[in-house]
Amino acid sequence: MNQAVISCLHANLPAVEAVLKDIELQGITNITCLGDLVGYGPQPNEVIELIKEKKIATCQGCWDEDVVDGLDACDCSYPSQIAERRGHFAHQWTTEKLTKENKDFLANLPYSIRKDECLFVHGSPNSQHEYLLPDMDAFAALERVENAKAEILFCGHTHQPYIRELANGSISVKVKNSGSKDIQKKEMNLPMRRIVNAGSVGEPRHGGTKATYVVYNDITNDVKIREVEYDIELTCKAIINAGLPPIFAWRLKNGFEFAERAEDASHFCER
């Protein structure tokens, strides 16, 4: 059966509506959302209301957590002080706009959702702030899935959709301890695991302007990345009218947003 996985909606209502329509047209009713309902975009309450109305299973993203806890995003995710100031401003703006009910909704979202062999998280099983980029060290990536006791790990946070298969792995282990003179050797075959990044509905960072999400078939194990057009102008106007930084509109319209992309694939937020 097909199921859709969406992530990083970022208060972009036209993008969310277009993606949900695309999902509906495929006859898919099973949807999981990997968080970041708010942040950057101009319609945080509207997006939350829509997710609630559709009863979409959702886990908490880093923006959702930070807005609720009154924290600003950890500065490790910003490559410059200007970017950090913009991020902090967006946090403050979002916090002021959100209703109490919607803050409570975000506060009560789970960190992860497990369905059979699939685990759904925002960043990684370790943290909502950890980036699992596609070129991350393969062994470290495998560790994230294996330690979470999953076969497929669905994540978001990077805004770059990808499907990564980690297979045919092995490693040799030699052990010596103080109580023995012998060296024990063993060969270990590593399990095949997959990481599926759903990209971003509301703030794509894959080099194009279209919203992205993934469709997973739990019978064939097939995963497809979907790209969906939406009314970008509408969102851009709403960003400007809301008084949010105009660069948020510019990067949506131009289809690239490298300014706030984390560069370090193995980076782990220490906050």
Binding site: A138, F139, A140, E146, R164, A167, V175, K176, N177, S178
Partner: protein, 240 residues
């Protein structure tokens, strides 16, 4: 001159053991650097004399290079050095009495020194740390899955990780690691075969059990203070 590292941990206020190790090391050939991988303090005995000695070494002492360990983290938590957090894990697992004993075992005048200690050292391609790069309480043992060990090595970008939290002495080497990675994204398919260079995680022991590491030959030697090393001539794990 052979360069060696002496790696000790878990003294928990035991000045006698520290003096015994210092005595041992004076007889050990080579140019020795002494690293103290945390848990200098503990709740069992008064730690002030040991702390004073670590901060003010005697003229013939090897200079100790200290990092903080799990017990140091607990006292910093309980003493308000970590914001609003307190040593709740210790309180839940060991009880209020142990928390009180820990606080009473260390004079407050040492807390700033403890708070200024580093989380770990990276020397050459080696990480020296109490637990792991993930957490000071990370308990790496012989039974820790290889993928977890590789992750801890990768986070520090080192080939050798010396850890103390488990209190065990062991040398676990990871070799011949290989893993195929295939990424499919909007630009197409990207295949890569990743190999792991030889890496190792070394448990340095605690208290009287400590480890000597020969930097030039990569040999690890497990030692018990006051006794002959287990394999004095060649050291253990000679071919690692």
């Amino acid at each position: 001159m052979i360069e060696r590292w002496a790696l000790i941990s878990g003294l928990k206020g035991d000045l006698d053991t520290y003096e015994l190790i210092q005595k041992d090391l004076k007889k050990t050939p080579g140019n020795i650097t002494l690293f103290v991988l945390g848990d200098m303090i503990g709740p069992e005995k008064n730690c002030n004399k040991l702390l004073h000695r670590l901060i003010n070494p005697k003229s013939n002492d090897l200079q100790p290079w200290c990092i903080y360990g799990w017990w140091e983290e607990q006292i910093l938590l309980e003493s308000g050095y970590r914001g609003n957090q307190r040593a709740e894990a210790l309180r839940i697992n060991k009880g209020e009495e142990v928390v009180k004993s820990l606080i009473n075992a260390v004079d407050k005048s040492f807390l700033d020194w403890i708070a200024a200690l580093q989380f770990g050292f990276v020397e050459l391609d080696c990480g020296l740390i109490h637990g792991s790069s993930k957490d000071v309480g990370d308990d790496l043992t012989l039974d820790t899955p290889p993928l977890t060990l590789l992750d801890r090595l990768t986070r520090l970008q080192v080939n050798r990780l010396f850890t103390a939290r488990s209190t065990q002495q062991f040398h676990l080497e990871l070799t011949e690691g290989i893993l195929n990675s295939e990424v499919h994204d909007l630009t197409g398919n990207h295949k890569k075969e990743q190999k792991v260079p030889q890496k190792a995680v070394i448990g340095v022991g605690a208290g009287k059990n400590y480890t000597l590491y020969d930097v030039g030959t990569d040999n690890t030697q497990f030692v018990r203070a006051g006794y002959q090393s287990e394999k004095k001539k060649n050291g253990f794990g000679l071919h690692f």
